[in-house]
């Protein structure tokens, strides 16, 4: 350790160990100094003098419920006639005694009211916090037609309450561990005690605890710190905003990672099938759910390969195309000066631009995107002989298909992989395209997420609900996913 770090840690240590004194004045002075009383407009330091004793309250006026403060803390204190302990005066539901200044500081920053009493070496923390957050709204990014509509919101307590409502069981554990130092943020792991695999749980905890960074505010950032391969194209944790989806995973033995300030949670470990499934697949009847999966599988294939295949075939394997179709393609690009690869790349890039702009654009300007996209990039480009109509069709098709992705994380994987395949196809036609596909696939197969192979239960095979390409009838599902090694395998 460097000398300056030693000094710093020593100072922090000293501050942490400070006890609450019997002298009210010195306590008040210390807290007021620590919390920059007078500069912080919302930091309140209020003295209360009752007939029996003197009290001092500290709180942030912006983080507490003022109604509760006046009804359950201030009025009882003022009305106290005898010198009895605070715990017997106050009528708040959550009251805790603290003995060190460090505890008092933590309580204050967490939005509680801290009450000191003249002549007493302990303080009380009354938890009446009221942090403002969005109310529960409809899931915006993972929509379903059939099934629950609520989505997680940026308040941890609300989120946990939604999960508890879905899984009323004493075995559902919401364990909190801390990450970061400035300030330390709580991370909550939600799991079912008698299902979860302890190795996986310990692994996740260890990874969270070994993160050395000043702060992590939400699961979106946490995800990148937790992943084994942060540069990989494939996500190894599922990011979902649907509490029903999270509850479904948790009840199978997976672990949900939640944080305050995130309107989503992470599911770990996850396999590639998790990104391919939508929660609606289970809510829909067997045939309908599987049909929608089939459509989605086709869409994934189109997104990944249609442009690349076009490049490969038209450049290298013309003999494959039936002669009528070949003539149609040739005549449509008779006056296009660009080589096919550039043409396809140009249009794919244009589509990515529209998509990126569509995400960032302020909503009043939204309709502009449609006009620019459809008219200028589509029709006008064709009329100006920059691109051929068939390429517009292909790019629109692959773009449209990429929106069917059931999860936002995999969407990026598909989009970026598509460019890799187009470039590979332009190099040596089907040979290099198939080579790129097999290397891509070999990479995907070699991945694992917290010890779980990425393609299980398909390969390596384990007992499971066999929920990969298609799902079974719900009553025929016998096993929980064994690749997680849950404590209880049998579902019945």
């Amino acid at each position: 350790m460097f000398p300056w770090q030693k000094q710093k840690t020593a100072a922090v240590q000293k501050r942490k160990e400070r006890k609450i004194s019997r002298n009210l004045k010195s306590n008040v002075a210390y807290i007021e100094e620590q919390f920059s009383y007078g500069i912080n407009f919302d930091f309140v330091s209020q003295e209360i003098v009752s007939p029996a004793s003197r009290y001092h309250l500290f709180f942030y006026s912006t983080t507490i419920d003022t109604q509760q403060l006046s009804d359950h803390i201030i009025s009882p204190l003022l009305e106290a006639k005898k010198d009895i302990p605070i715990s017997r005066i106050l009528t708040v539901p959550s009251l805790a005694s603290i003995e060190s200044m460090n505890g008092a500081e933590k309580g204050l920053t967490a939005g509680s009211v801290i009450i000191f009493k003249e002549g007493s070496p302990e303080a009380f923390e009354a938890n009446i916090q009221d942090f403002k957050h969005r109310s529960i709204e409809k899931a915006d990014n993972e929509r379903t037609v059939k099934g629950p509509k609520d989505s997680l919101t940026e308040s941890l307590t609300t989120n946990i309450s939604m999960i508890r409502k879905k899984m009323p069981s004493k075995d559902l554990i919401a364990e909190s561990i801390e990450v970061g130092v400035r300030p330390a943020d709580p991370v909550t792991l939600v799991y079912v005690r008698d299902l979860v695999n302890n190795d996986v749980l310990e692994n996740i905890k260890k990874r969270i605890q070994s993160i050395t960074v000043d702060n992590i505010r939400n699961v979106e950032v946490l995800e990148q710190f937790l992943e084994e391969r942060p540069r990989s194209l494939f996500p190894t944790m599922l990011y979902t905003e649907r509490p029903d989806n999270a509850a479904n995973y948790v009840s199978e033995g997976f672990i949900a990672i939640m944080m305050d300030n995130s309107s989503s949670c992470l599911i770990a470990p996850i396999t590639i099938w998790g990104f391919f499934h939508s929660p609606e697949d289970i809510y829909l009847r067997w045939a309908f759910g599987n049909f929608s999966r089939l459509i989605r599988a086709v869409a994934y294939l189109i997104t990944l390969f249609v442009s690349a295949t076009y490049v490969a075939i038209t450049n290298y394997h013309v003999q494959l195309v039936p002669i009528d179709l070949l003539l149609a393609v040739a005549s449509s690009r008779e006056r296009v000066p660009l080589p096919i690869t550039y043409e396809v790349l140009l249009m794919e890039l244009a589509f990515e631009l529209i998509r990126e702009a569509g995400v960032r654009i302020p909503s009043p300007l939204g309709p502009t995107i449609g006009i620019v996209g459809a008219l200028i990039l589509g029709q006008a480009a064709v009329e100006a002989n920059i691109v051929s109509p068939i390429v517009v069709i292909l790019v629109a098709l692959s773009g449209l298909s990429s929106f069917t992705a059931a999860n936002y994380s995999i969407n990026h994987t598909l989009r970026i992989s598509r460019f890799i395949f187009i470039l590979a196809a332009s190099l040596m036609g089907a040979l290099s395209l198939l080579g790129a596909i097999i290397i891509w696939l070999a990479y995907a197969v070699s991945l694992n997420s917290f010890g779980v192979p990425y393609f299980s239960p398909a390969t390596p095979h384990t007992k499971s609900s066999d929920d990969t390409y298609f799902r079974k009838l719900l009553k025929n599902i016998k096993w929980r996913p064994v690749f997680l090694k849950p404590k209880d395998v049998d579902k019945k």
Binding site: H317, L320, M428, S432, I437, S446, P453, S456, T459, P460
Partner: protein, 363 residues
């Protein structure tokens, strides 16, 4: 962290065997058989399989009996380090030559059929680099990959058979014994090392979930592969008849080229290239990985993945020596098979003899 230890099961092995051996139905091996056996080219592999069965079962029996980790350890255990290594080197060299010749064939095939204007060496380089990338991921990934790609391959095979059946005339299978019974049996004997991969795969004896899974996978996979090969060769015979069949080099592609699919798709052979090429990438990935493993195990090299690159490039350079495809196929490959076959047919019996001798000495 790994939650599942040794997760590979029989299905991955079956997929790997299918890629490694079943795919010989679609390369230039049939023309090798057809050269002498003529329209009995589908009987010759059956003969070969029957010929290799006793040594193969002997080897499996010995592996089970001694519970050693793999082929190389068994050699060392039964024959002593020196003799075991020498036999191992023979096996390695045989497999290496066979791989090099096969690889040249495949590359020539790709070159001739799909990229006639490109230099062979470029295609060869691309091919090798792809195989190296995949092989570097390790056996578990290769096994999983083989299983993941299998649906595509099976779909291709089924559609090829469906298409080819339209052009078959079943009477062409006669005379059943082609050039004559003695010729077919001799051909089957001398070319029996087309199945030498079965012996090589025993290097992975302990790499699967348990050895029972390995045995199940091995037997099921080999029977399925041989069935596939025989079925394919039968179709070739019935499509081309005896005079043409021994004059065509690329039977798989030719057979798909002559059949149109309806009035719209008149030239569909490139469709079937997808599965064919994917399986060939995997075939040489597995082959390369296994012979590197054998080499590593013989000389106690723990991290044998480092050998992949030198061995593959050496194979590439050596296989470029024959001036053209015909020389490579009809002289190098055929002659090497004639030399390799006895080694592979005999070494399990040598091991068995050593095992018996050891037991007798113990008593």
């Amino acid at each position: 962290m790994e939650l599942l230890k040794k997760p590979m099961r029989a299905r991955e092995l079956i997929a790997m065997i299918f890629m490694l051996i079943g795919i010989k139905g679609g390369d230039t091996t049939p023309s090798l058989f057809a050269d002498e056996a003529q329209n009995a080219l589908w009987i010759a592999p059956i003969v070969s399989f029957v010929v290799i069965l006793p040594p193969f079962i002997t080897l499996m029996y010995l592996l089970k009996k001694y519970q050693t980790r793999n082929l190389a350890e068994l050699l060392h255990h039964l024959l002593g380090t020196k003799l075991g290594t020498i036999i191992g080197i023979f096996l390695f060299v045989g497999a290496f030559i066979s791989m090099a010749a096969d690889m040249r064939n495949i590359v020539e095939e790709i070159n001739y059929l799909y990229f006639p204007n490109s230099p062979t060496i470029i295609i060869y380089l691309i091919f090798i680099v792809i195989c190296l990338f995949v092989a570097n991921k390790g056996l578990e990934s290769i096994g999983s990959l083989a299983w993941a790609v299998l649906p595509v391959i099976v779909l291709t095979i089924i559609s090829v058979m469906f298409v080819d059946f339209q052009a078959t005339v079943w009477q062409r299978i006669f005379p059943i014994l082609g050039g004559g019974a003695s010729i077919v049996i001799r051909d089957g004997f001398s070319l029996s090392s087309v199945f030498l991969e079965f012996f090589l795969l025993t290097i992975a004896y302990q790499a699967f979930h348990d050895t029972k899974q390995f045995r199940i996978g091995m037997y099921t996979g080999s029977i399925l592969s041989v069935l596939l090969i025989v079925l394919f060769y039968m179709i070739y015979t019935m499509v081309f008849d005896y005079n043409t069949v021994d004059n065509i080099a690329y039977l798989y592609q030719e057979s798909t080229e002559i059949v149109p699919l309806g009035h719209f798709f008149t030239n569909i052979s490139t469709f079937f290239m997808v599965g064919w090429l994917l399986s060939n990438f995997l075939r040489f990935t597995i082959f390369l990985y296994i012979i590197c493993w054998l080499y590593g195990a013989l000389f106690q090299i723990k991290r044998f993945e480092g050998l992949l690159m030198p061995i593959s490039f050496l194979a590439m350079i050596l296989s470029m020596i024959p001036p053209n495809f015909i020389t490579n196929e009809m002289i190098v490959r055929k002659t090497s098979f004639h030399w390799i076959s006895p080694i592979y047919l005999c070494f399990p019996f040598l091991l068995l003899a050593a095992s018996l001798w050891r037991e007798r000495r113990k008593l």
